[in-house]
Subunit: 430 residues, 2 copies
């Protein structure tokens, strides 16, 4: 992680100078990128993909250094897995760039427009943000993804990946910059910020030079960026997601959704962390559900009512902290609630506004859930795992916004743009 809950490091004058110079080069590149046609951008994306394929050996070698360093420093196995690039994974990130080339260009889309009574023609048109900063952890695929989505949406990107991926990121960015130059585009469309921790703080404060910051990673990283930035930030990916099994649920369906939401990919933000069960169906639902969760390797933190129904399934008493925790793994908190109101209140208290699912056959209950739960996604009879840019058909995803400003839920290319009003007259005055 480049930042922690302890708060951002101080930015030294040298940090500020470094970031100012870097971001100023990005701004110059961004002016050029904003004017590119879709054909030019797509050709560049293919050039980047081809260059990465050609440099696969070099990328894997640099990555091996990172993985080896991580291992020698006792990096967790799951983090090593996310850090590792083999030839197949390099080919996959290259292919992802080609897939982005295939997506529609958001820039230039006319969002709305009209001719006013006085003949003035107005239209709101999508344009690039300008310079977008990404702060993320040791996942080298994000380096390529972010560069590709930035390029397609006409933005220059400043990338700040976790230091554990330093060698991988350096090579990936060098390869992409060189490919950009080959097709006649500014290399500074993609830049890597490599200074110390203070340079991240300087990036967070580069208001006026950087148009948007997107942090991706754990809660500590994201909170640090959200609270320490003067540059506009989109908060992503904190997901303390619930599955609520209503009195009128199809219990088979409810069990399938619970198991899927918890165990399909427990490390991601749209995995469920907490199971709420209506008291009326608890005795029918929970014994089998708890057994299935246990068999799937899920550690269970439960309230007293749940414990009483657990039989020989091992459970631990749940605290408020459990209900507030995004486990990111095979753990789940469970509570029996008196009714829908209690479920709504629990979600209000502990939810993070990401994805909240109800399982019910009762129209009234689903209608209230959809209306009253305040979250990026509210799901009825579907797994929380569906809150995803790929699943939604966006073709790409730069993160899942859990804030209300600008973007909410899965973010793809349009969310990396802003708009501009174009007003055309013939000498119109008021």
């Amino acid at each position: 992680m480049t930042a922690t809950t302890a708060g951002p490091a101080q930015a030294s004058p040298e940090d500020v100078e470094l970031v100012t110079a870097l971001a100023t080069r990005s701004r110059v590149a961004a002016r050029r990128l904003a004017l590119l046609t879709r054909a030019e951008k797509d050709a560049a994306l293919h050039a980047l993909a081809d260059a990465l394929d050609a440099a696969s050996e070099q990328v894997v070698a640099a990555n091996s250094e990172d993985v080896e360093r991580g291992r020698s420093q006792g990096m967790e196995q799951s983090l090593q897995d996310r850090l590792r690039l083999d030839p197949e994974r390099v080919a996959a990130v290259a292919q992802a760039l080609r897939d982005v080339a295939g997506l529609p260009d958001p820039v230039g889309e006319v969002v709305r427009g009209s001719t006013l009574a006085n003949g003035l023609q107005i239209r709101e048109v999508r344009v690039p943000m300008g310079v977008v900063g990404m702060i993320y952890e040791a996942r080298p695929n994000v380096t390529v993804d972010a560069a590709g989505l930035g390029l397609k949406s006409g933005n220059a990107v400043i990338l700040r990946g976790g230091s554990a991926a330093a060698s991988s990121n350096r090579v990936l960015v060098e390869v992409m910059r060189s490919a950009l130059t080959t097709v006649g585009l500014p290399a500074d469309a993609v830049q890597l910020l490599e200074g110390g921790h203070g340079s991240v703080t300087a990036l967070m404060r580069a208001r006026g030079l950087v148009d948007l910051l997107i942090p991706r990673g754990g809660a500590g990283l994201i909170q640090s960026v959200v609270l320490g930035s003067t540059v506009p930030v989109i908060e992503t990916g904190i997901g303390n997601c619930h599955v609520y099994v209503d009195a009128a649920a199809d219990l088979e369906q409810a069990r399938a959704i619970t198991i899927n939401a918890k165990t399909h990919r427990p490390s991601v933000c749209n995995a469920a962390e907490s199971l709420l069960v209506h008291r009326a169906v608890a005795a029918d639902f929970l014994p089998v559900a708890l057994r299935q969760l246990c068999d799937a390797g899920v550690r269970l933190h439960v309230d007293a009512a749940t414990a009483a129904l657990a039989g020989d399934v091992p459970t631990e008493p749940a605290t408020d902290e459990d209900y507030a925790t995004e486990y990111h793994g095979l753990e789940m908190s469970v509570a029996v609630v008196d009714d829908l109101d209690a479920a709504l209140e629990h979600v209000r208290r502990f939810g993070s506004g990401h994805s909240e699912a109800i399982v019910t056959q009762d129209r009234g209950a689903s209608r209230r859930w959809v209306a009253e739960v305040d979250a990026a996604a509210v799901l009825v009879n579907a797994s929380t795992r569906f809150t995803d840019g790929g699943e939604f058909g966006f073709g790409a995803e730069i993160g899942i916004s859990t804030q209300k400003l600008h973007a909410r839920g899965p973010m793809a290319l349009p969310e990396l743009t802003t708009t501009k009003w174009v007003v055309e007259g013939e000498g119109h005055v008021r």
Copy 2:
């Protein structure tokens, strides 16, 4: 002003306690507001309007106290004018609430949606932000406008007006709260924050309790809120707007647009502050234009090339600071530029991203202006004064955003909402 460029005041524990209690009440009210039908909201707006009409005498009396206190403390005449409410103005703000009732309800609008290949039905629906804070100066009409737009968009509002309007705001808010109660809605839908300066800081830091802050006022107020807030902010209304007279301009049209943009209402943010003239037409355009500006009472800050064409029109040498200044009055900076590129570079350097107008008959020049100027509104052969929610046909305006995130340009009801994804399945799992 409630805050200055010196930076926000410290929030004491009492300030934080005050704001936490206030915002928590707002959140409770917001849950109720989010579920209201359009009919219920419109009825409430009419009730508010009627109550204000009925309390007109009381409002004017309270306002007189404010104006009298302002006068005795040497408040500028123009600020006194903005502060003053007479019976006609009270009737006008009441009528504005009825006009808002006539506007479409943004809440519930389906922004996009589809049925996925797996049968899952997804739709993105507009929902209220929740709790919106407004920090503004001594303009009591904003108190009523913000309450009305907040109510219509289903948001609870926390109002922090300038202390110079304290008596007016207290009465206005009391009248509106009482009217809300009469129609069975929570009074806390509209709350006034009346603590000291530290309470404003506490409001700016109430992340999680307040969903959005909108500062309206001078540059110092806005910068203080933008830089000091952890709550998401929309930056509004800093307008260092330019009119660029191109080589291919219709010079009569250019003069009419210049005069209108500068003098129609010089105190507002979409008034032009700076005039740029292509060297090729400077000698034809400027002598008459400068005379007209001078006759309209405009003080002129000019470069050497302009001074040489000013004849007997009095001018002063312009500094970089002049070119960076939003005068908010009858003053204008003027520069002769070598070509379109120089005009674009000048706007890039000094513009605030609000409204930038070109006057030209040359398609190539207007096309480049529209594409290359990075601003909320780019205008061709039209006065900058058209960047306005009313002119654009929005029926209302809560401010003009000069940031790129969430909203850009005039903001009305939809900009006070966010969206929520509703995902409906029949037991769908991944």
